[in-house]
């Protein structure tokens, strides 16, 4: 009974929220159109950003601090994922398949996906694309391989996997510090090198993003004879 009343109350609150939101949106939509100061600034400084695609310029130069922290969030998710794995390999051999059709398909798809990821990475500087899209494709290649049961020994929660998870993040962080040590602000690129450094960062990030997403996809199997967490040492 109380549960029903609670649900009704929450439902009514959601309805009220939607109505208020639509009302606020109606007000915003009716505002006069005007030239936006931020867009003007963006086109003014785009040539100095080292890339010609405005979204990439915002992501990896003007607001690169957001991107740095965002990769931090992704790294945390990856870390927690592997911290919950209780088996020596994240990948489960029982799930390998020996379907010849699948393997034939994979031989075609895997190189294609990797190639496409590389192209997206390269395209990011001048048109839609970039590290996350490339990383997602790499992860997709991994997921395909995993579904088809390719052995994935590298997904062992060991030093190699951990290093892979943070590779892109570390590269980004070191380049960020470089600017500060050189007398500029944190995250400032040396003049003239912005384009090249952004590509380096994006390459590292693609690999790491792909690895993090793949690790999260396969992680957290529960070992059959798991020892219960015993609490603090006594």
């Amino acid at each position: 009974m109380i549960e029903r009343a609670r649900q009704a109350l929450l439902g009514a609150a959601c309805l009220l929220f939607t109505v208020c939101l639509l009302w606020a949106v109606r007000h915003l939509v009716a505002l006069p159109a005007e030239q936006q100061a931020l867009s003007v600034l963006l086109s003014r400084w785009l040539p100095d950003s080292g890339v010609s695609h405005p979204v990439t310029a915002v992501l990896l130069n003007f607001r690169s601090y957001d991107t740095l922290l965002e990769i931090g969030v992704l790294v945390i998710a990856g870390m927690v994922g592997i911290s919950l794995a209780r088996t020596s390999a994240l990948e489960d051999p029982a799930m390998r398949s020996a379907d010849p059709l699948l393997h034939a398909l994979l031989r075609l798809f895997l190189p294609l996906l990797v190639l496409l990821a590389g192209w997206l990475l390269w395209a990011g500087s001048s048109r839609p694309g970039g590290a996350f899209q490339a990383g997602a494709l790499l992860a997709a290649a991994g997921v395909l391989g995993r579904l088809a049961g390719l052995p994935m020994a590298f997904l062992r929660p060991g030093t190699l996997l951990r290093a892979g998870l943070v590779l892109g993040f570390s590269v980004f962080l070191l380049i960020a510090l470089l600017g500060a040590l050189d007398g500029r602000a944190f995250l400032a690129y040396p003049p003239g090198l912005a384009g090249a450094l952004i590509l380096v960062i994006e390459a590292g990030l693609s690999l790491s993003i792909g690895m993090i997403l793949l690790a999260l996809f396969v992680s957290a199997p529960v070992a059959p004879e798991e020892d219960a967490d015993g609490g603090p040492p006594a």
Partner: protein, 488 residues
Amino acid sequence: MSSLLMAGLLFTPLAWAVLCLLLAFRAARLASVIGMLLQMALSLALWAWVAEQGGFFYHLGGWAPPLGIGLRVDGLAVTFVLLTALVGAACGLHAGLYLDPSRPWQRYFWPLFWMLWAGLNAVWLAGDLFNLYVGLELITLAAVGLVVLGGAAPALEAALRYLFAALIGSLAYLLGVALLYAEFGSLSLVGVGEGAGSASPAASFALLIMLFGLAVKAALFPGHTWLPPAHGIARAPVSALLSGLVVKAAFYVAARVWLELGPALEAAVVGVLLGVAGSAAVCWGSWQALRQPQLKLVVAWSSVAQIGYLFLLFPLSHGVPEAVSLQAQQGVTLQVISHALAKSAMFLAAGNLILSVRSKRVEALAGVSRYLPLSLFSFGLAGVSLMGMPPSGGFAAKWLLLQASLASGQWWWAAVLLVGGLLAAAYVFRIYRASFQEVEESDPFYHPPRSLEIIPLVLALLALGLGLVAEPVLSVLGLPFGGEVLSP
């Protein structure tokens, strides 16, 4: 000079997170101690710089807002950075001794701990609404990871509750940011504040929804239900970090947004509503703390109550004279600092007590007062600050809030302060009564290493002494913020 300090402050926690992920537990512990010392030195140097030269804006990547992201380095921000360094280092040192290195997953404590630290610093210093969102998410995910460390079923359950509440809160905040950006075309807090000259319905709704989301993340009653399980189940040093610092981050963002937009948008009703919710939190949280069978849940529910006091800022800073508003802001700031110190001390002491009696229940404490006086003493000292007795920081905070509520003619908030203090005394004395029960046999307890007991004692003494140095602390907060840009 200050540019290098800023770079170091931002770089160190993130770099140490990477470093500690690659090292095993003991090596990561050693590295972390060095990192904590470094971070402490940097925070102290930055604090001293701001205390001497005044605050400044720091433009990341050399791009000025609104195109780039500017950090606002003022007295309040550096005080919280220093507080984070202090409490973080204490919890880190405690965790290094408290966690069991033989369990393979404990090594992940260190990278998550550093990520949490990085997120906290990012939030204290942020001057950009979207950057605040990313910073809050960094904190949330790291905090959830720390709660779930070990991956037992009850921890998973608490972590899932926490994760869902925090994620909904973040998205509500982001929705508000989207509406504000659509109206004012800027993401910097200053830019939006300048735009919001007059009351606008969309901006008011945006403010409301942001405050709602942040209140859930700060565990304001009635959105507090996720806090006791999460803070109760986590390891003691993790609980200390979460209660001491993490919930304050969401409150800090709410206060910054409110002080920037609240007056312009004439949102008095929202302020009163938040004040009422805060008062309810004080009463309900204290009452629940009084009834909990487990020691750490007593402390966790006490956090729900103590967070309630913070939300008195909202009614006391709106539509009142400037001096009264300032008094309320100072009182709330002191409450944040003293609660951070006292509550982390209390959780660490509670962790030690649980280690000693090998049980989480309050009744198991019988006899503790005779054989383990030190941890109990720290617990009590921290309790003094929570009750708000002189000369503690809690007393100074409540005194300022009391003055503000009387000066603004809103005397009813003073009654909340009184009731909350009495209930806090009741739940602290309940623990004491349990621990003074005599036991028959000779010392049955495990004695933790002395260094484990010293850390909460130091924090509790700091919370106690805060009232004596309230004046100098507040003077740094009130420093003139020149607003000049630091361009390296």
